[in-house]
Symmetry: C2
Subunit: 148 residues, 2 copies
């Protein structure tokens, strides 16, 4: 289904909240507001700090805050923080030693696809996500999916 992991999804929710909040907030507060369990929130925040998307302050009155402006935090960065490098195929990452299948000599054009997708994700920022919604009218849902 080419989906984002749940954790990444949560991350965008959390970050959206933080982008609106603008002030430093504690993990517990985020958990309360979003309805995501504290340990899970905590885990996500830790990943985001490691990826330098957030900065943290320890101790009483501590908490988390965005490391940069929402305009400068791309969706690609967030996905990267939670799920590692964005790439569709193995060979796109390692670029060597991929022996998925003996008869495979695809290689080339996949990286073009990967690049395209990466660009798409890189071009959307947190700021875009919290904007009222540009709404591209209709979302296309394949008929076949309705019958599963």
């Amino acid at each position: 289904m080419l989906r984002l992991s749940k954790l990444t999804d949560y991350a965008t929710v959390i970050l959206s909240f933080m982008a609106r909040e603008k002030t430093q907030v504690a993990a517990m507060e985020i958990a309360a507001v979003t309805g995501i369990a504290l340990p899970t929130v905590s885990k996500i925040l830790k990943s985001l700090v490691n990826a330098e998307v957030l900065v943290s302050t320890r101790g009483a009155k501590g908490g988390y805050a965005l490391a940069r402006m929402p305009e400068e935090i791309s969706v690609a960065t967030v996905i990267n923080a939670l799920e590692g490098p964005i790439a569709l195929t193995e060979c796109s990452i390692s670029h060597q030693g991929c022996e998925q299948a003996l008869g495979c000599d695809i290689g080339g054009n996949w990286s073009l696809i990967n690049q395209t997708i990466h660009n798409a994700l890189e071009s959307v920022t947190l700021a875009d996500l919290i904007r009222p919604a540009v709404l591209p009218n209709e979302v296309f849902i394949p008929v076949s999916s309705l019958y599963r």
Copy 2:
């Protein structure tokens, strides 16, 4: 990591082979050529038939063949066949009843992202995959060649 499932990867390998072959081939033959185990090949082919990417002929001398020209089979279609609808977030699919997190009111702009990615995958066909390779960004130049 936003990756394709292994099965989908296999599918592209198999389809690439079939696109070159052009004639009807049996599952066993494909298994032999690609090095993928027969039951697995079989499973994938069945999915592709259901998605109408392939047509099958039963009985002795039966086998599989592309249902359309390689130019008319998009990567999006293939992914769809193996993994279901392409969408990054839950709400993009059901468009209702997504209660991932209480505080979430993202919605809108994600579908823009989804749409972009879907377009990217829709615009690449089987024919593109088997083309010698347009080779974008990184091109590997053997060090040895630099000294000639």
